[in-house]
Symmetry: C2
Subunit: 508 residues, 2 copies
């Protein structure tokens, strides 16, 4: 009986784990940033595309491209199979903006221009373990060119990225776009594994297959950022003790082989010309590698022609992230200014965008190779960078608050707010319980209101209003002497007809 | 064996049934419209809120408010219960923007200002049978005030709605915001069912209960738009044959009772004052009804004070849609200009926004009553209206296309596009296969390019470029005589240094 009487428990008012809400400036600052980026993309001839958030699992494919996230999954569910209704298909939320682009490029291939330049901005969803600062819904901002095999498309994307970073406020010198080419890495692998002797050596050493060893080399190169030159040498050779003391098996390359890989990773010279020479020495024996160098050379020439100096975009073979996924040029944008990390130590802000040339995504649908290249900006990271530099730039000014002294004259207060708005000034009437005037001023404070308007019955009779400068008031309260306070009152009485002018004067 | 060799079938490149993609102007036109609305909402002191697309089913509640869609459902799935990871909770995509607002208002009640004015714009998802023009993902654009019981909040929402409609381009006179009050309807129901005689009559007639009969009256009133005055009379009385010939059982009211309901529905007079008088006569005996009339009177006075004439927002008791869901004032915005329907018949464009005062949504979470009122704009319908009036206003101008005559001089072409962009002109280099020049011009046409730039080896040697006015060219091709053609050539040769000036001249 007791059980039956128990009240239905109230639902918990909580976002699902790993999800969050965005309030006020969170929304407007991101929107302002994305609007500026969209303007640059538009000027480069890119058109917006907004795909549905939901895709069939079949169209999406099951695998995330990002090798950093092996456990990444999607949010998926099966439709009920209903005649004329649900199809019984498995549906899922998109996990990035590239997979839907591939689907669109295949589905609308007869209608879209070739090549198709498009940009996309919006949320994506990943069903993975949430952690601090890691959310299961986040924004991506992508630009891709589908259907052009020319490295001119890659150069254009890199140039556009530098323009986009400057458009949101990152100063020249505070960022660098670094460019590498997967084909040069292929050349290194050819140089490493190409000769009969080396293959024989690998087999004698009991390494399973050259293919697997190549994969192991790729994975190791991906760790260059983390473990550095010495770490990579150890991991490519006999193995390495990690920071926890555990021993990680090495790939088992010879010293000569290791040297080739290191020469590639550290080939960056004083300028593009020198870098290209260093690379050429590394992969001289490999046709694929030389092709990669020629492409990098073309990209460098085109960037120069577009007026993009090496201080903005530069050839840098140490860009390794995601090399396994891409098939040609790869790019990464880094912010080079320093911020303080969680522990108060200075460190470079780091990567805010990455991309490159990829194949096979459209081919999945059509069996035809469709070359594509693109960039993805990490929206949250770039916004965090703008905030760290004080560049996020939402005005953050709250509305003028018209207080309510006499609830029977609500219409008068509404008219004041309407007059202010008609003059383009953000304004609102206090709509809470007007009984306690202190609460109204507390509300105005919480709203970041620059000005409060006050009109009691006495003022109404005399046809005047009190205009209270809350910014000045706060300043006077904390700093001013009594004389200053009297000389520069934070509250003035003006005729009702002068309300708008007076507020405009205070807002400056 | 044959089966084993069979290739894995290619995935279908298709949006899931009921979903769609938005291209180019679809995206920019909607964005331009929403930006203008956001500007108005901001100026009224409303802050943006962007909640996560995913909610727990528990927080969302299972029921859609919109009585028009009894089969509506949500897209939901159960999380895997993993230690430290998924919770085993049922998650779902939000079906509107109000349920997440209620969750946020409860979750952050100690941090948000009271009252909390917020706007939200974004996609929502409904798992229902797709149909022509009915999609399972669509945009909503809401503004709500949570935590104010004052009808000043309702008046403000209505005034803001009129401003928003004018801001997107709907002319004064082409729209009307109609305002009603659920409490007046309650008064009518009290007047209809309040007396002992009527209750007795209902029981004698074998009608189940007064409560159920009240519901039946509400449902019938909701059909006023569809079946008109005569239809409602029949449905409230003895029943009605519908267009298919089927007989629909009536509610079984007496003629006196029916007359009261009809008097309410048709109480609109020449102006608000007259309407209020008509309403007062209908519900004179009901305290709830009189309270509703007083509220409408206050709203009318505040709208007048804000300078909103009755040509923009008016009291109209025939607004009935969704009355069952709301608890106080209700609003509906209608566009009053005529468009041609599918069959070429003229008809009024109709409703583009609706809303009202609702209770109980936040109470679900906190057990405390939190009054709220708000409006939801039908984004797709309003955009369709703007398009019908030629007001959607995306410029639709494609980029200047720099053609490629000599693929070894890609860098030169990129430099031309870069120069144009630096002057703020949208420009791109042709990145397809440049072999066939005709294809390049076809591409420029598909892109809606106003100008094409051409520079072959000969022109490069002489330091000039050809600038082709594609708009004029198309016009001349269809209209011009041979003389005109020669007198006003659509293609001019200019020094490379004058490229930007010449393009700017053509673009005007």
């Amino acid at each position: 009986m007791a059980k039956d009487k128990k009240k239905q428990p109230r639902p918990k008012a909580e976002t699902p784990k790993g999800f969050r809400d965005y309030f006020g400036a969170d929304v407007t600052e991101r929107k302002a940033m994305l609007d500026r980026i969209a303007e640059i993309y538009h000027r480069h001839g890119f058109d917006p595309l907004e795909t549905s958030a939901v895709e069939t699992v079949e169209a999406l494919g099951k695998f995330l491209p990002d090798v950093d996230r092996p456990n990444a999954g999607v949010f998926a569910w099966q439709e009920e199979a209903v005649p004329g209704g649900g199809s019984g298909d498995w549906l899922a939320l998109r996990y990035d903006l590239t997979a839907p682009l591939a689907r669109v490029a295949a589905q609308f291939r007869n209608d879209l221009p070739t090549p198709y330049r498009r940009y996309a901005m919006g949320p994506v969803w990943r069903n993975e373990k949430p952690g601090p600062g890691r959310f299961r819904q986040f924004y991506q901002c992508d630009a891709d060119t589908v259907g052009s095999a020319s490295v001119a498309a890659d150069a254009e994307i890199c140039a556009m990225l530098t323009d986009a970073l400057e458009a949101v406020g990152i100063a020249r010198g505070d960022y660098i776009v670094r460019i590498n080419n997967r084909k040069v890495l292929d050349g290194v692998l050819e140089a490493v594994f190409g000769s009969i002797e080396n293959v024989a050596h690998a087999i004698i050493e009991g390494n399973p297959t050259i293919a697997e060893q190549k994969q192991a080399v790729l994975r190791t190169i991906d760790k260059f950022d983390k473990v550095g030159r010495v770490g990579v040498c150890e991991l490519l050779g006999k193995g390495r003790k990690d920071s926890s003391g555990a021993f990680i098996e090495g790939v088992g390359l010879t010293d000569d082989q290791i040297e080739l890989v290191i020469a590639f990773l550290t080939a960056k010279g004083e300028n593009n010309e020198q870098t290209m020479k260093n690379l050429a020495e590394t992969v001289a024996t490999s046709p694929s590698g030389m092709q990669g160098i020629i492409e990098l050379d073309e990209i460098a020439a085109m960037l120069k022609a577009m007026g993009i100096g090496e201080d903005r975009a530069v050839i840098d073979p140490s860009v390794v992230r995601g090399l396994g996924y891409y098939t040609g040029p790869v790019f990464e944008a880094e912010l080079t200014f320093e911020i303080l990390d969680d522990k108060g130590r200075k460190r470079q802000f780091g990567s805010v965008a990455g991309g490159g040339r990829y194949d096979g995504l459209v081919e999945r649908f059509t069996d035809q190779k469709v070359p594509a290249t693109g960039i993805s900006i990490g929206v949250d990271r770039l916004l965090a960078a703008l905030r760290a530099k004080g560049l996020a730039g939402a005005d953050g000014v709250g509305p003028v608050v018209v207080t309510v002294m006499d609830r029977d004259r609500m219409a008068d207060y509404q008219a004041m707010a309407a007059d202010l708005r008609a003059a383009g000034i953000r304004a609102e009437v206090y709509l809470g319980n007007p009984k306690n005037f202190g609460n109204q001023l507390k509300y105005a404070d919480k709203r970041g209101a620059p000005v409060a308007i006050i009109q009691g019955g006495d003022e109404a009779e005399r046809g005047v209003v009190q205009v209270k400068d809350l910014v000045l008031g706060a300043k006077l309260a904390s700093e001013a002497s009594h004389e200053e306070w009297k000389a520069q009152p934070a509250q003035t009485e003006v005729p009702r007809a002068d309300l708008v002018d007076e507020v405009r004067r205070i807002l400056g």
